[in-house]
């Protein structure tokens, strides 16, 4: 399968039908509405039509969505529903949906209440903070049993204040009693930063007292704002904190009583989300006084169905035509199970454009096999396949997650295959002999040679896809010039290099090497003659032809790049063996050691698996992107984004 052919859809309808038509499109979910703003800028169109200006409506809907989301998030703290590791959208029947939408006023009240309570809660919390701080301020004065707001008697002054912790308070007290005998001095308490002091003196001696205190860096405290003793104050503050806390929990209880509404709020959220999307689509259509015009794309396969439904329901002019030869339509990929699993890999690079073949079907086997070879250990593959099969069967998954899990399953199988071929099972050396092909760790050179061979196959496949693309575009001569000639030269080059490959018997291949030389020369001449053919003058043609030979260097570096197949596979199997070795060093003489051995085995293999699975994934992707796609892939397609019921929480059942 491949890229879905798109048809162009143009519709002129009555403005009064617009919302309904868009709603129908949404339900069908197969029409992408294109933005016609650019058309507006041309004078011809500008005079005739105008955009519907509903930006304000949309932003209102957006702010509504924010409000609901906030409430939902708030309630989710009290949500008692079980949530799985892989959560999927809840199914909601159309009746339930309609009831919720009809009674949305009640829900809006709930939302307002929640935000009201939320405000109250944050007020209460800041009140508690304030009180806690006050208590912290009073704590050092706890032992002081005089009234805090007492400034003194008629003849005396009562002064409270602090000096820094480093001040020697004994000396301060001494000096004070020497200078002003008519004073009372007491250190109330002391902490890591300050000493808290009480000084009582005759008013007439105020100046002298102040002079002494200033020397020691005394600063007045501000306790006058309290009335009563500090102990009383602390008690009453603690009590009010307790009251506030009670109030908070009672409000939280009230909010949690709304928890039942969470499901309904989710439905309302999605209802407004859908409405917003429809308004957005309405905003990009063109309007006259009574009619509107929209343009869009619809998959060829759904075109008739759309035409039927719309024409039956509405009075409108609907035209569905095939896309023009050079018109870029949005890309929708439809692939069989196996090929679809690597779609995300290809999409990370780029979507194909409409003129080329969807590469997923041919990428899939290469990706999976290279992944397997680079992870290399059949034991890891077994676990990977088992886990992904379990997840696939046990959980309901969103489409993307499902594809990824399937990819992991296939990668697991491929890893098992390579494990069996090369004798790698959890790095257990004794099992190396079970290798069906050869033992990787014993004969790395052999694997290096075959890695390069796999590279040749992969690159040739890439050129093959290029030939197929050219065939589809009916550029038959280009197939010979741009693909076949390269095959000739690359093959010559590869044969020429044969004696340098470690496992090849140099004597046996002399004939092939001679053939390679001829092919190399013939290929080079043909390419020099043809590769510059797009240049205008003769010098350009020659330069273009000769410089194309530089691609030979590119071919060589591409090939060497496949040596990573060996390197990563080797690294993971050697590390697996090392983990086993380290674990067994300890021996099994007592139970503690057995536990230790098991722990080292589990964590070691888990680490090795994680780091190498990641490595295999990214390197296998890279081999597709650079070495494979580089040969044929143009990319640059934009994804098909049909107008559809795009929800966050629920799946509507019609």
């Amino acid at each position: 399968m491949a890229i879905v052919n798109m048809n162009k859809l143009s519709l002129i309808g009555l403005k009064s039908d617009k919302e309904k038509i868009l709603e129908t499109f949404m339900k069908m979910g197969v029409v992408e509405v294109t933005d016609l703003k650019e058309e507006m800028s041309s004078e011809e169109w500008g005079k005739l039509v105008s955009n519907e200006d509903n930006a304000r409506e949309i932003s209102e809907l957006n702010s509504k969505l924010d409000k609901i989301s906030a409430s939902i998030e708030y309630l989710s703290k009290f949500d008692k529903r079980k949530k799985g590791l892989f959560s999927s959208k809840r199914k909601v029947s159309i009746d339930d949906y309609n009831t919720v939408v009809k009674n949305q006023d009640k829900l809006w009240k709930v939302i307002d209440d929640i935000s009201e309570y939320d405000k109250k809660l944050s007020n209460l919390k800041s009140e508690i903070n304030k009180n806690t701080n006050l208590i912290l301020n009073l704590k050092p004065w706890e032992k002081l049993d005089i009234l805090l707001d007492m400034a003194g008697t008629k003849e005396t002054t009562v002064l409270t204040g602090v000096v820094p912790e480093i001040v020697n308070t004994d000396r301060l007290g001494e000096e004070l009693s020497n200078e002003v005998p008519e004073s009372y001095f007491e250190v109330v308490s002391k902490d890591r930063e300050q000493s808290y002091l009480l000084v009582i003196y005759l008013n007439s001696k105020a100046e002298d007292v102040m002079r002494v205190l200033k020397q020691y860096g005394f600063s007045k405290s501000s306790l006058e704002k309290f009335s009563g003793t500090s102990n009383e104050n602390i008690k009453s503050l603690s009590k009010s904190i307790k009251d506030l806390e009670n109030e908070i929990s009672s409000i939280e209880e009230k909010i949690s009583s709304f928890a039942d509404y969470q499901g309904d709020l989710e439905i309302l959220h999605d209802y407004i989300l859908v409405e917003r999307d429809r308004k957005k689509a309405a905003g990009i259509t063109l309007n006259t006084n009574d009619s509107f015009f929209l343009q869009g794309w619809v998959p060829e396969t759904s075109a008739n169905q759309v035409k039927e439904v719309i024409e039956k329901k509405f009075d409108c002019f609907l035209e569905i035509t095939e896309a023009g030869e050079d018109e870029d339509f949005p890309i929708l990929l439809v692939n069989k199970d196996f090929a679809s699993s690597v779609e995300s890999i290809t999409e990370m690079y780029s979507l194909p454009n409409r003129n080329e073949v969807d590469p997923n079907a041919i990428t899939a086997p290469f990706f999976v096999l290279f992944f397997g070879l680079m992870l290399g250990d059949g034991g890891y593959g077994l676990i990977m396949a088992a886990v992904s099969i379990f997840v696939l069967l046990k959980f309901k998954l969103e489409e993307d997650t499902k594809k990824f899990m399937k990819l992991m399953m296939y990668c697991g199988f491929a890893t098992m295959l390579w494990g069996a071929l090369l004798g790698g099972w959890f790095g257990i050396e004794a099992l190396g002999k079970t290798a069906l092909w050869f033992n990787l760790t014993d004969e790395p050179q052999k694997m290096l040679s075959f890695s390069l061979l796999f590279g040749v196959i992969h690159i040739y496949a890439g050129l093959g896809v290029k030939a197929y693309n050219l065939y589809r575009q009916k550029k038959y001569l280009d197939i010979i010039f741009d693909v076949f000639f390269w095959y000739v030269m690359f093959t010559g080059f590869a044969l020429f290099l044969l004696p340098y490959i470690p496992i090849v018997d140099k004597e046996a291949v002399t004939g092939l090497v001679r053939l390679g030389k001829y092919l190399l020369v013939i290929g080079a001449v043909l390419l020099i003659l043809t590769q510059g053919r797009h240049n205008k003058n003769i010098i350009g043609k020659i330069i273009g032809g000769v410089s194309s030979l530089y691609d030979l260097i590119g071919f060589l570096s591409d090939l060497l790049s496949y040596s990573r197949l060996l390197a990563l596979g080797l690294a993971s199997s050697v590390i697996a063996a090392i983990v086993n070795q380290l674990a067994l060093m300890m021996g099994f003489s007592n139970i503690l050691k057995v536990v230790f051995v098991v722990a080292v085995l589990i964590f070691g293999h888990l680490f090795n698996f994680a780091i190498n699975a990641l490595g295999a994934y990214v390197h296998s992707s890279r081999l597709q992107y650079i070495e494979f796609f580089g040969k044929f892939y143009e990319g640059g397609g934009t994804a098909f984004e049909p107008l559809k019921v795009n929800t966050k929480y629920i799946n509507l059942k019609y």
Binding site: M348, P444, R564, A567, L568, L570, I575, I611, R622
Partner: protein
């Protein structure tokens, strides 16, 4: 002293040291650079943890290659009997490609990964490209690993 230097074991152990020690410095530095960039991005958008983590981990492979070479080298050492000086030298030189190339490519790969992290902060869909750019640097560490490995194979 002379006895010491003419024993292949000494050179072999020096090779293992270079293979791991030098390559691991490169990886540490590289992962560190990418990690700092990642932390900056995560303060803005904690949701990008997974792609940032993937990019940060890329530069760690150099140390792994160095580790494998060092371990295999150690496996060939038997302190109780003298090793031929020739073998010792082969093992010594085998440690150098994976070590030195690991040092340089680790640091540079870390820088590329950091730039990639900044890129995905702005365009999350660019993850594939960011990884590919960083893997371009990895190629040289892979080649160095293979060369070191093949050199090890010369000693029985």
């Amino acid at each position: 002293m002379k006895e010491f230097l003419t024993d292949g074991n000494f050179w072999a152990i020096l090779g293992a040291t270079i293979a791991f020690f030098v390559a691991a410095i490169g990886s540490s530095k590289g992962v560190g650079i990418a990690g700092q960039a990642g932390a900056g991005v995560l303060t803005e958008d904690p949701g990008k943890f997974v792609p940032v983590m993937i990019l940060e981990a890329l530069a760690s492979t150099q140390a792994i290659y160095g580790f494998v070479i060092a371990f295999l080298t150690i496996g060939k050492i038997d302190i109780s009997t003298a090793m031929a000086l020739k073998d010792g030298f082969v093992l010594f030189f085998a440690g150098i490609p994976v070590g030195i190339v690991g040092l340089v490519s680790g640091i540079i790969q870390g820088k590329v990964a950091a730039a990639g992290i900044h890129m995905i902060a702005k365009r999350p869909e660019g993850l594939g490209r960011a990884i590919t750019l960083a893997l371009m640097v990895e190629m040289f560490a892979i080649l160095a690993f293979i060369i070191s490995f093949l050199m090890l194979g010369e000693v029985g």
